[in-house]
């Protein structure tokens, strides 16, 4: 008890008397923590944003489109057009019953969309209600997506991409129920797409398209062919997508009489390309981890250096204290206590600073496009603890050894130290 109170008194006294040195050391550790955390937080933000963006188009499906035959087959000539018709959907669904969903879409580029005298030119998409969850087409509050009734009744309703809404009616607060014209046909707005970041797309970014029921689309343009089929599979079958598209190709080849090896169909397996993206993300994560580790090492060396020098400088002081009757344990414990205190102060303040800074940054409503890709810096408290722990350990170790050396020799040797 007595030696503890001695330690406490010495610690308090030295801390007060040498607060300049202590503050500098704390600032050094704080700076190390802040810089690493800043780097990691930007990395984490980027990673989270990219992971989010990657899902912007939806996931777990292949897009399949028709083409022309390249080979003669069973007496039929080459160059025949193989496009999908309305009755292909039930046909394929029967042939591939284990697929989660097979649907089709139609699209027409450069259609004139107008609202109260203003007009823009965008792609019109005809589709079924299943498209909503499949392609992450979630409506903003107050609106809805195309539903079954719309298909049945061939309603002239339209779901607008959020950018189209901004272009056509920037000042309209509640656009649901407003009337827009596609070419010269009036449509009622039923919903606006929730803003999303889409890293992959085919044809066009969803934000710039307008979406109408496929039945209505077909009536207006008298269009029999699907532009794309979309084949979605359950999560458990993500690894077997190739098998599903092969089966679809076989079924199509049987129905339309072409050589299944002819590569007539265009197939885009989004799972495959998302897997690639996933690898890039993983690579990014490793890279950031590596950079973080290197920075940590640099900061660690810095902290260790500060501690080492600051303790080394005090060798003479240790000698004086020893000559005045300080016990070894008291001196060593004092230095460890100081190092721990410095660590907790520096690390703690550092984490608190960076945490409040990133939280504050999140609260500022900023509409900067770069944030949609870069994301906002995000701090993980676990990272902060690990960083502080590692820096702190390096600091304590770097401070402990010189203090141990200075207090282990005869006092006269430490007194002689210059």
């Amino acid at each position: 008890m007595k030696s503890l109170s001695i330690l406490w008194n010495v610690f308090l006294r030295d801390f007060r008397k040498q607060s300049g040195r202590m503050t500098l050391t704390i600032v050094g550790l704080l700076w190390g923590t802040v810089s690493i955390m800043l780097l990691l937080s930007f990395g984490e933000g980027l990673y989270q944003q990219m992971s989010l963006n990657e899902k912007g188009m939806g996931e777990g499906f292949s897009v399949i489109w028709g083409g022309r035959t390249n080979k003669e087959f069973k007496g039929l000539p080459r160059g025949r057009r193989i496009w999908f018709l309305a009755d292909d959907l039930p046909y394929f669904s029967k042939k591939i019953p284990d697929a989660k969903l097979i649907t089709g879409e139609m699209m027409r580029w450069g259609q004139r969309i107008s609202y109260k005298g203003k007009y823009v030119s965008h792609m019109v998409n005809g589709l079924y209600p299943e498209y909503e969850s499949l392609r992450a087409m979630y409506p903003q509050m107050g609106g809805r997506f195309v539903n079954k009734k719309d298909i049945e009744l061939k309603r002239r309703v339209v779901f607008l991409g959020d950018e189209v809404k901004k272009e056509l009616m920037p000042e309209v607060e509640n656009p649901v129920g407003e009337m827009v014209f596609i070419n010269s046909v009036p449509f009622t707005v039923i919903g606006i797409l929730s803003p999303k970041q889409q890293m992959n797309s085919y044809a066009s970014q969803d934000a710039y398209n307008v979406f109408i029921p496929l039945s209505t689309y077909r009536t207006i343009w008298n269009e029999p062919y699907y532009d794309n089929l979309i084949l979605a599979v359950d999560k458990k079958d993500y690894g077997r997508m190739k098998e599903f598209t092969d089966r679809l190709n076989l079924a199509a080849a049987a129905k339309y009489k072409y050589d299944p090896d002819d590569k007539v169909l265009g197939i885009w397996d989004t799972i495959e390309s998302q897997k690639l993206m996933g690898n890039i993300l993983l690579g990014l994560k490793y890279f950031l981890g590596f950079v973080g580790f290197m920075t940590l090492a640099i900061a660690g060396v810095g902290v260790a250096n500060i501690m080492y020098v600051s303790v080394k400088e005090r060798t003479r002081e240790i000698g004086v204290k020893m000559a005045m009757g300080a016990r070894r344990a008291t001196i060593q414990l004092q230095f460890i206590t100081e190092a721990l205190f410095i660590t907790f102060m520096g690390g703690g303040i550092g984490i608190a600073l960076i945490y409040s800074a990133t939280e504050a940054f999140k609260m500022i409503p900023l509409d900067i496009p770069v944030l949609d890709i870069m994301g906002r810096p995000t701090v993980s408290l676990v990272d902060g603890l690990i960083v502080t722990l590692i820096l702190g350990t390096m600091g304590v170790v770097a401070g402990y050894f010189p203090s141990r050396k200075a207090s282990s020799v005869n006092p006269v040797d430490s007194l002689r130290y210059e």
Partner: protein
């Protein structure tokens, strides 16, 4: 108080061996006041450091108040330095960042004395050495004589029976040095044992006992090179 038998100290710096003390035999009784005199490099400071338990001897035996120092644990040595011995250095060895009062406080701190007691004792000791008005001054704001007074006050902190002074007047002018010697005389009169290294033959001559050293050994009389 102090008994040394065949004490030697050898420094090994690489391949060079240096014998700082050779077979020193000495006995100093309680309440003695000795001057240790000798040229530079004769081993005076080494002897003093060993007596003060700041250094250990290579061979031989040293008994402090009947106890063999070689057999003491590190903690016992620390306590001896804290309670039994007051050390006054030639270069003062004050903590530069601390005030006079805080420097005097150091041995009291390690003795585990309460804050109230520490402050009382510091004030009393600094008053005694004539520095009542400099309690809050740092070493850099004091003259050499004042710093040495602080160091003496510090050596008295835990009221030790033995005071060791390694050329306390070496860095001071004659008049200031004289005042310091007077102070040591007072301490001796109070019943303390005092050992003081000095270069000054005039100071040494006035003390009750002189110990002469040359080339690491005790000698009866200095062969003064003329």
């Amino acid at each position: 108080m102090i008994r040394m038998t065949n004490v030697s100290k050898v420094y090994n710096t690489g391949s060079i061996k240096f014998e700082a003390l050779r077979e020193v035999n000495i006995e100093i009784k309680e309440r003695e006041f000795c001057a240790v005199v000798g040229p530079s490099g004769s081993g005076k400071s080494t002897l003093m450091n060993i007596i003060g338990c700041l250094d250990d001897c290579t061979t031989g035996e040293y008994f402090l108040r009947g106890t063999s120092v070689a057999n003491m644990t590190q903690n016992q040595l620390a306590d001896v330095r804290n309670q039994t011995i007051g050390f006054v250095f030639q270069s003062f060895n004050l903590l530069p960042y601390a005030t006079a009062e805080e420097n005097v406080e150091v041995p009291l701190l390690f003795a585990g004395k309460s804050r109230k007691l520490r402050l009382e004792r510091c004030r009393h000791l600094l008053e005694r050495v004539g520095l009542a008005d400099k309690m809050k001054n740092r070493p850099t704001e004091m003259s050499g004589g004042e710093m040495q007074r602080v160091a003496i006050a510090r050596s008295l902190a835990n009221d030790p029976p033995l005071i060791l002074a390694d050329e306390p007047t070496g860095n001071l002018d004659t008049r200031t040095g004289g005042a310091i010697v007077d102070l040591f005389n007072e301490l001796h009169d109070e019943g303390r044992t005092i050992i003081m290294i000095t270069h000054d033959p005039n100071i040494a001559a006035k003390l009750p006992r002189q110990i002469y050293m040359q080339d690491g050994a005790l000698v009866d009389k200095l062969r003064i090179a003329s």
